[in-house]
Amino acid sequence: MTVTTTWYLSLAAVLFSIGTVGLLVRRNPLIMFMCIELMLNAVTITFVSIGSHLNDLGGQLAVFFVLVVAAAEVVVGLALVVAIMRRRARTNADDLKILGG
């Protein structure tokens, strides 16, 4: 029983689905960010395994850029969370419906 690319892709699909469910269920903005990171990780596993399957370095290059974008996204997102929490002490994602005006 050898490990094929399909195994990696299935694992990534499970991880992506768990991240999606977490993003939809949890109300704490920090944990929602963590779920986005889980989904990004599922995508990186997909990229690397497809790249390995096709013997192409492009997959790993894509993952490099995904990592950079993820880092930038977390920095800006956490700065937003800090800025919001400073004004309203106890905040979850539902409280931000005030943004609707």
């Binding site: 999606t20 704490n28 800006v76 800090v82």
Partner: protein, 192 residues
């Protein structure tokens, strides 16, 4: 051997992911995320992407999770969230159904529709062996992808500036209503 390593890291990854979404305390979620990230790094080693495995541990588990934990401690929001309250009725079952259907769609496309991954082999740059991985990646990044690397630098600069601007504590509120500014001017004049 590869099968055993894959199965162990799959269990580590998935249990960590479930831990992230089920733990009440955000700090525990962050630690479970480290577990998932390490499992993914093991998979990268298994796929001979050694540079990415190192970067995964250094950047993700090192920098990003530290950032999460830092914000949690800074804001003091490490209190447990009450998971029993369901804010929107029927939200959780619907979320689970949606997640399951996403998984089903991906798996169907993957296995049934195309019978495993397809594509053109070695269309771009061959991977080479694991010892050469870092050199090849660097050479490709700074020759073929050099414009993307520059854009990445720009993106990181924008992100840093944005974070500083967003989290700076302004001396006066940035946006004042007309009435507020009027009354302030009046009091300043009165003081003189």
């Amino acid at each position: 051997m590869e099968t055993i390593v894959f199965l162990i890291s799959a269990v580590v990854i998935l249990s960590g992911a479930l831990g992230v979404i089920f733990s009440k305390n955000p700090v525990h979620s962050a630690l479970f995320m480290v577990q998932t990230l390490f499992g993914a790094a093991v998979l990268f080693v298994l796929l001979e992407a050694t540079f990415l495995a190192a970067i995964q541990v250094i950047v993700y588990a090192g920098a990003i999770v530290i950032l999460f934990v830092f914000v949690i401690t800074l804001l003091g929001i490490d209190r447990a969230e009450d998971l029993k309250v369901e804010p929107i009725a029927g939200q959780r079952p619907l979320a689970v159904v949606l997640g399951a259907s996403i998984f089903g769609i991906i798996l169907t496309v993957l296995i049934v529709a195309v019978g495993g991954p397809t594509g053109v082999r070695e269309a771009n740059t061959p991977i080479g062996d694991a010892a050469d991985n870092t050199r090849l990646l660097g050479e490709t990044l700074f020759s073929k992808q050099v414009f993307s690397v520059e854009l990445t630098a720009l993106l990181l600069t924008v992100a840093v500036i944005g974070a500083v601007v967003l989290s700076a504590r302004p001396q006066k509120p940035l946006i004042r209503t007309l009435q507020e500014s009027d009354t302030e001017e009046e009091t300043e004049e009165g003081g003189e």
